[in-house]
Symmetry: C2
């Protein structure tokens, strides 16, 4: 069997290697535009920051070493320009000789990836404009940094890649601003979480400007300023991380079904509408494992999983792919951020009666060195109590929280399924009541009505109007708010009527909850706890 | 309703606090022998190592602060000596006045915990003999360490507590040996994993002696030596961490059903055979969530979960506890160890057709600083492919691997359920193919026959006799073994007949697997890959 693979980074090389292991007699050829294959795309920002020191570390395999290891043929600098489905051939152009060649296939795998979006604006070709997609991009940017002339940089795009580049430039001593045309950075997070991260970044001298569209890049030969609707910002470099677009121009007009964003639609077997053509990785549109709706989640991890499944299916298997959860994790300066499943907004858009809670929970025993906290937002379906999504911020291992949630989401767990799990505990690793269990308990209490709260989103939207803020902290700590020590509450409190609207706030939320519990016992009917407390909310 | 709780550490305080939140009108009283309540039992070894600096950090709540916070009554230094089930009363003795008092209950919760085993041997009362159960134990041991006269210590017992104390004494500059009468340290791990840890500890100058029974402690007034069957060992201190025994003497002859080890048997609602008496925490025998057999897993985390459930059940709920998985995690010098579910041995004893694999898998992107590897043993049921257990060793976050497995085990997942999960990936956190997924893939390949291997346990048991060891590493690295470069294998290899018995070894196992794949293609029928490679096995 003759298998052609278009593309040779994560998905393409995975398909090729696995196919040859399935059956070494398969004739497997990778056609790729670039000189490199199999590079560490996700590591590029860390090369910029000199966290990864050597450029060789970015290359997983050369074409030669990959061929030797797997037995697959690799044709680099070979750009596919056309697919002839009737003849089962592709036409490709050599980028060195410009010669055209035709390659035939029994099965074709499209793993052509994606390219960074290049906006059609003035100055986009100036010296000092960078992307972050290939090793050359990272090498070029670090060279410029290390040449010592880059004082200020503007990163355009506040997604994971943009923020990773921002952190790494910042590590190198460059002053960084991040522009995003959306109303918040971190797509895939709910706005109040993105807002917290924006404030956190500002504390680390990375200024994020949202609702800010890049209009032009100005300069005489090289970058001097970026122009936005609001103002011009001086800078020596611009890094465009505005997203990516699938490399599928050769698939247009082939009859292959494309999505609006030009990704290739595949079914659960990762097969296109042509049974001899599969698509995997960043160029493919798969489905969301929860909603079964179409989902594009271009990640190196998914590319590997998909590549392995396609190879097995070509080799006679019928492995179905359950789809993505949109899982992601990202390291920022002294804050890690992770997410999986649906945000509250996405859950509501998908028709769920979504209920969420924001908690601030210890990440390890409070007395253990480096103990910190996680800020968690958990989303579930109110009626079925099915877990729908998790967002976590924290100095510690947010990836652990996310991976537990991924497993639970994959198994379609309800909150009750996962509330009393025997999760790992010892003081260097976690808390006696695991931060995930803690959050599940609180959300279940909220659903049952044992816990009455106001979400940070509602608080930001001024829904606390008419409520009196009460400081429920151990020691008074909220300026301007009367302090109420829960241990002194033994009946009706002189200062407050039983139907007063009281918003109870402490640092993390626990003492406010205990206070609410007492007040309710003594007849108070209108108390709310502010979720996330003063740590998360701007109070 | 009047509720008495015997015991005031993790489980007892949790029951009391939650009961008062469920209904503040409940009359809740804790009776406890000790002066303290609610102390950080799991943190004690870290106080010894000065990792936790202040003794105040060990105390979560004083009796007074706990009462103020919760509304429960706490009677300290009050030892329960008898339960009168007919009258629904308990008799207790004041340890300060020796007075006897009788307390009545509507519901009784036994949370009396456990005490360290004190062997009936010569010298057990000498100065310099320590336990690790109460704050006083840890404070006393650290004082002795800091007095500067402790050069050598012997820890008796190679479970988590013993090893944590050993690490922390070692941090303080004390030379530590660990004695264990079992044939390996780390109960709950399979022997080959314990063996690896013993070697690792030896590299860190903590010598573990297994199959070694403590016969006497020798000294004139204070500890000078421990005597074993084999030899006497000089030391200045002995820490007895030989396990714990439930504090249930007051429950004998009450008609409450006790297990052989004197723990109190409870049903899924954590109720004893008396519907008005519950038992939780270290004194209770619950069930294993997988096998449903009786299980004793005395951990602070389970104590909290159980305490919460009992409080809700007393308050009218009917929450059933699914039981424990025997999850545990422990920090050792430059190695963390974790486990959950069944070991291979336990799985076979429970009647499963257990299949396992040992893998060595990167814990984060190999090019990222501090990248290391996990050594993983995964156990599953061969026919159903149900996950049964996981053991993980590594410098990194083994707790993440364990918690994913806990979630999967709780949801009764099969390997196929969890193989293609969208787990979190970015270079600082994980690998593009998650180490858990990687291990699942390898175990599935082993079950399907695509991967033929010898386990480290079989290799240690000399089952490689008759096999020729082949070095499959990238560069020759195994002394005395012929090297075979898989990229050069393009047909039958001159040196080996097609039916030669070949044991393929590389550092982690991956290249050996690739080599096997090629050799099989070219007609070799008797190759095995040594699981865990040269990193795990002593080669």
């Amino acid at each position: 069997m003759k298998i052609l693979i278009i593309g040779g980074v994560a998905a393409g090389t995975k398909v090729a290697a696995k196919l040859k292991r399935e059956n070494r007699d398969y004739d497997v050829t990778i056609l790729t535009k670039s000189k490199d294959i199999s590079y560490a795309g996700c590591g590029l920002p860390y090369y910029v920051g000199n966290v990864i020191e050597q450029r060789e570390q970015l290359i997983v395999n050369t074409p030669a070493s990959f061929s030797a290891l797997t037995g697959a043929t690799v044709l680099t600098e070979t750009e596919v320009i056309k697919i002839n489905r009737d003849q089962k051939t592709v036409e490709a152009k050599s980028l060195t000789t410009n010669e055209l060649s035709t390659y035939s296939y029994d099965k074709l795998v499209i793993a052509s990836g994606a390219s960074p979006i290049k906006p059609a604006i003035e100055g986009v070709n100036l010296d000092g404009v960078y992307y972050m997609r290939t090793p050359e991009d990272a090498i070029g940017l670090r060279e410029a940094v290390e040449a010592g002339k880059m004082k200020r940089a503007v990163v355009v795009g506040g997604g994971f890649i943009g923020l990773e580049v921002a952190e790494n430039l910042s590590i190198q001593g460059v002053r960084v601003s991040v522009l995003d045309m959306a109303d918040h950075i971190l797509p895939g997070f709910d706005p109040e979480f993105a807002d917290y991260v924006e404030n956190h970044l500002a504390d680390h001298v990375i200024m994020a400007m949202t609702n800010t569209r890049l209009e032009a890049i100005l300069g005489d030969g090289k970058v001097e300023k970026v122009q936005t609707e609001k103002r011009a910002i001086k800078c020596d470099a611009v890094i465009l991380a505005m997203g990516i677009r699938a490399n599928t121009s050769f698939a247009v007009d082939t009859g292959l079904e494309l999505m609006k964003n030009q990704t290739i639609k595949v079914n659960e077997y990762l097969m296109t509408n042509d049974p001899d053509i599969y698509a995997v990785g960043d160029c493919a549109c798969v489905s969301n494992a929860l909603t079964k709706e179409s989902a594009w989640s271009p990640m190196g991890s998914s590319a590997n999983i998909e590549g392995r499944i396609v190879a097995r299916n070509i080799a006679g298997g019928s492995i179905s792919y359950r789809g993505v959860l949109g899982t992601g994790v990202c390291k920022l300066p002294e804050l890690n951020v992770g997410r999986t499943g649906l945000t509250e907004k996405a859950a509501m858009e998908s028709g769920y009666d979504a209920v969420s809670v924001v908690t601030v929970v210890d990440d390890k025993a409070h007395y253990y060195p480096q103990a910190s906290y996680f800020i968690v937002k958990m989303v579930a379906d109110r009626a079925t109590k099915k877990l729908l999504g998790l967002q976590v911020l924290g100095k510690g291992n947010v990836d652990k929280m996310i991976d537990i949630a991924v497993t639970a989401l994959t198994m379609k767990a309800t909150l009750e399924d996962i509330v009393d799990m025997d999760l790992a505990y010892a003081p260097p690793f976690s808390t006696a009541i695991h931060p995930l269990s803690h959050t599940v308990n609180i959300l279940l209490n909220k659903i049952s009505g044992a816990f009455n709260s106001m979400t940070p989103a509602d608080y930001m939207a001024d829904k606390a109007e008419g409520y009196q803020l009460i400081d429920a902290s151990l020691n008074p700590s909220i300026t301007g708010a009367p302090h109420l020590d829960l241990t002194k509450v033994t009946g009706k409190v002189a200062d407050y009527a039983l139907d007063d609207k009281l918003l109870l706030v402490c640092s993390k939320g626990k003492r406010a909850y205990l206070l609410q519990n007492r007040l309710k016992h003594f007849g108070y009917t209108n108390t709310l706890v502010l979720e996330g407390g003063s740590i998360f909310n701007s109070i």
